[in-house]
Each structure stands twice: as C-alpha cells, then as structure tokens.
C-alpha cells in the first residue's frame, strides 16, 4: 500500500534523496505501523516527538497501530514557535 511519508525539521535528513518538499510516497507492506516506517528510514526514536497521521496526533501508545492505504504520516522532533 502507498503511504505519504513526511519528515520535518532536523528529521528531514532521514528522508531518501529523491524526496521532495519534505515528503515521499512509500510502497509499504499491509499493516505497516508508524514505528516500523520510522525504523526503516533510520529515524532515531529518541528524536521523534510529534507524530501525525492525516493531521491527527498519534500518542506514543498508538504508534504501533497499523496504517492504511493513502495515510499521510508526518513526524517532527520537539519543536515549538509562536
């Protein structure tokens, strides 16, 4: 299934070289989870803070729940602004 995978701020360095606009469409196995995709891309778990699926916050306890076709997974380290 296809997942749109987005890494922002300092995590952008873990995106494949052919990513554009901080995102890439990935072909992944059915049942893939946010944690699995982050590990596949070599993103250190300690740097992961904000995880959104389709714009909705996913708490740490639910980051091993399976994604579904077409999901938008977006991840940031700890950031803030104002």
């Amino acid at each position: 299934m296809k997942i749109n995978f987005k890494l922002y701020a300092s995590l952008g360095q873990y995106l494949p070289a052919n990513a554009q606009n901080h995102q890439i469409s990935l072909d992944v196995n059915e049942g893939a989870t946010p944690i699995q995709l982050l590990r596949q891309q070599g993103v250190p778990e300690a740097e992961v803070h904000l995880v959104l699926v389709n714009g909705v916050f996913i708490p740490p306890s639910q980051r091993e729940n399976p994604l579904i076709e077409g999901d938008e997974l977006a991840v940031w380290p700890a950031v803030a602004g104002g």
């Binding site: 987005k6 300092s10 952008g12 606009n21 901080h22 904000l50 714009g55 909705v56 950031v79 104002g82």
Partner: protein, 616 residues
Amino acid sequence: MSWQKKILRVNLTEGTCTAEPLNMQWAADYLGQRGLGSKYLVEEVDPQVDPLSPDNKLIFATGPLTGTPASTGARYSVITKGALTGAIACSNSGGYFGAELKFAGWDMIIFEGKAPKPVYLYIHDDNAELIAADEIWGKSVWDADKILHAKHQDPQLKISAIGRSGEEGVMFACIVNDLHRAAGRSGVGTVMGSKNLKAVAVRGTKGVSVKDPVRFMQTVAEKKQILAGNPVTGQGLPTYGTQVLMNVVNEVGALPTNNAKAVQFDGASNISGEAMHEPRGSENKANLVTNQACFGCTIACGRIARVDKEHYTVKNRPEYWGASGGLEYENAWSLGADCGVDDLDALTFANFIANEQGFDPITFGATLAAAMELYEMGVITDEDTGGVKLNFGSAEALTTMAEQVGKGEGFGKILGLGSKRLCEKYGHPDLSMSVKGQEFPAYDPRGIQGMGLTYATSNRGACHLRSYTVASEILGIPEKTDPLVTEGKAGLVKAFQDATAAVDSSGLCVFTTFAWTLEDFYPQIDAACDGEWTLERLAQTGERIWNMERQFNLAAGFTAKDDTLPKRLLTEPAASGPAKGKVSGLGKMLPEYYELRGWTPEGVPTPDTLQNLGLS
C-alpha cells in the same frame, strides 16, 4: 532592588523631562513591564480617550529582570490605548533597547501630550532631553537609526523609532528597535506618531542591582541549564525559529488561508522554516543567514535572512541585498498563506519593508487578504488599487502594497486603515478577520478550538500571545490536549492568560515557557527583587493584571458582545483536514470561562473577584 525605582515623565506639549520615583506599592502588586505599565495607564488615562488625542499616554516599560543576567532579560513593552483597537494595548519587544534603558537608570518612560513639532528623546544615563527631529522626520526606521548613530557619534546608542507608517497614520504602525525588533501590534506606533515623537535614543552605563547576587546568579545558571537541555529551547528554536510551525499547523488543518476561506495552504512547504534553510535562487544560497539572540538570551530564535539578488523585488536595489530581520512564523503566515503567496523571497522582502517603515506585518497581511477577497468579489476595483491586481497568490500585489503601506501612499492609505475599517468602508464588515479591531494571527480556531476562546477574550484584540494554547493543543507542552474539542479549554485559556501576564511583566521572554513554568520564574524574581516572591504571589499577580486590563476595556465601552469571533469562524466549516466540517465552538466555552474567571454572565468581574485580587 532590580527595579531602578525611577521613571522618566516626558511632557511633549511642554517639552519637559522629569524624574519621578517609581511607585513601589504598585511595583509590588504589578511587578513591572506589562503589569506595572498598564497600572500607570489605568490610573492616568481616561479609558474613553481618543487613542490619537494628546490625552492618551504612551508608556515604555521594562521589567525587573530586564537588563539582568537572567536568560532573555531583554524585554520591554509599550503600553497605551491602541490606535487600531481602542482597547488597552501592550506590545512587547526584545532586542537591546530595553536593557539599555534599564542601564541608563530608568524603569519606565511615560510620554504625555503632543509635541508642537516632531522631536526625539535622547537619554544618556540621568540626562534626558527632547531634540528637534527635523533630520529624521520623514525617514524610515533604518535611515533614522543611521542618522542618529552618526549624529551622536555613539555606536552603543540603542534606538527605538517609528517609520513613515507611524508618521502617516497607518493604524497598525509599530515601534521598531534595533532595526528589526518591534513592539508590533495594536497601533502603538500610530499613537507615537500622533504625538510627533519620532524616536527614543538611549545610552546607559549603569548596572542593574539585584537583592541577593549570589543566589540570583546560582538560580539563573540553573534555569539556563534547563533551557539549554530542553529540545525546543536548546535546539528547535535556535535552528528553525518559530517558522518550524508552518508545516505543523498546515498539517493539522489550522493554517488560515486566503483570508481564512481555507484552513490548509498548498504552498506551505515553500515558505516554511525548512525552506529557509534550503539553497535556492541565482546564488544557490539559503534564505536564512543565521539565527540571532536578543540581549541576554540563551535561546536565540531570531532569524536573519536575505533576499536573492536577482529576485524581482530587489534586482538593481542593492540597499536590500544585505542580511536583515527574517520571517517569523506569524509574518510568514500573514504575508504568505493568508494572501495565498508562496514566494519566500517576496515574503522576506515584504517583511523587510515592515521593519524598515514600521508596520505590523500580521495586520498588514490579514488586511491585504481581506482586500484580496473583496477584489475577487468585484467590490474593490482596479480603479481603487491604481491598477494593481489584488488576486490571492500574487506576490507582486503583496510587495507593491507593502511598499505603499510603508509610505502611506496610493491604495496603501486604504490598507493602512486595517481590515475592520477597510471592510466596513466597502460594506462587508464580516470579511474582517478581527476581534476588537485586531486581526487574528496564524492559527485557525476551527482546527485549534482553544485559540477561538483565546482570540475572543484577549484584552488587546485577537492575539496568540495572550494565551498560547497551541503549545498544549498541538505541541504537547506542558501536556497534550485535543485541539478539536472544546471541553477543558476554558480552564486552559485562563491558566495560560494569567501565567503569560506574569511572564510579560517580568522582563523575560514568553518563549522560555516552552521549557519553564512559573515554578522557574519566581525563584529568579525572588532572588532579584525586594519582597518575597512566591509561586502563589506571581500567579495571583498575573490574574490581577488580566482583570485590571479587562476593567479598562469595560470602562472604554467594550462589552461581552465584543468577546466574539469573525462570523466566518462561527458559521463556515473547515473544508479540509482533521477539522473538516467543524466551526469554532466559542459559544460552548465562553460561559464556562466567565464563570472560572469569577465574572458575571455579562463578562464583568464580580465585586468579590475584584476584592480577592486587590482591585476594589
């Protein structure tokens, strides 16, 4: 201690500068900066005064920790009755000016009256004098800064000034210090211009004394360690600045776009903090040159940026080729997403012009966005705009209008009214995205419900900095709450409002609160200031300040009817993202908020509430 215990009263009508002792009882009750400056305003100014009349006053106020070694001890605020809003205004700025004023031995300057001819105030320690401003009136902030530095032959002189916008009566003119830090909102620069006051130039060579120097330095060092070790204040903000929020807020579907007709912007990635780091343009260099700290700051979130030399805005205009104050998130949103423009260089240029001529880019962008909607409806025509096509997405419209507003020329004169007056003029008041006359910033309340209550109840008109519930609702600081629900938001907003009022009165920066709570503030204040400062006292001081500001606004004529939001946010559902189908649930939150505040259902503090806070 920590306060200099001295204020400077400047009567512009009479041309006099007089030293007065600081009212230490008021300092004990209102701390400093926002709280103490507001107390002086409330005591000295009729709430119903015309903001642009000589009877309004303009107060520059530092906090007790301004100019101390506490991290971020740079802040000062400008307090007045706002030109844009008619509400109590308090605009906060960093840079180096505030600390320099403190070093000169002053806690506060109160300007009253109106100078018969343009003047600037020159302060060197105890000496203060009004000087004719002939050579700088009519000049930009940047030119005035250069001229005054050359005239006084002192590179350490710190200058706070208005640009041409403030002189020309643009209703959202700001006061810019150190070239690109600003007391930005509510038209405080318009009030300054109305008084024929062009600038304040200050040089201070004194120190700031604290009550217990050893304990103070130990405490300050501990608190700096917390900032350094926190991933947000230690890494995120210095690297990406506030602009890192652009993609976050777009992703959660709360990025007001095209005058808040939409909540997500296709071009968000192009104008984000990440984009500022990426090489582009004719020289393949990044927009961001470096980060920059204000006085004493160990976070350093400021952006110093440049426009590509071949970009249409600066081609053959070398005066704009240098590095200068770059985009913060709110500005990138207002100039970018809200106007549908995703040209990073055009946004940066418009931001330069806002600094150069001294106007608030949030209100400017939101006003232009309203004008763009009216233009696309056919209400505003090419005849009105002098032929400029005000379509959403037009970078040329953005930069042309920034220059016209900066100089108060052409259609810029109309945009200079702000969106409320502009939309009323063209018969569509509902298209102004404002509360109490001030445009809301970069968070759509349909996608972040707490921000709806924040905007509706902010004492200075719509503002994110009065209770930044985004920290909790989106970023999980100090704990995560659901941005799409209204439950619990009344208490959250009240807690943020009261704590922020205390922080804004200390002399330190609210951005420390991504790592600190009031638990980290009060020991620093207690070690520096006379008296015993506890957590409870600091928290109550914040609540007292909030209620005092409310009382001023009620006396000025505002009522509970003004605690509302633009019709669009209450009736037009978000069209995409997690908030799709939702409007702001303000009506569910507001009654609970009044109750938590100890206010009547009409939004008026009860006698008991006032008595408990020492405001009777």
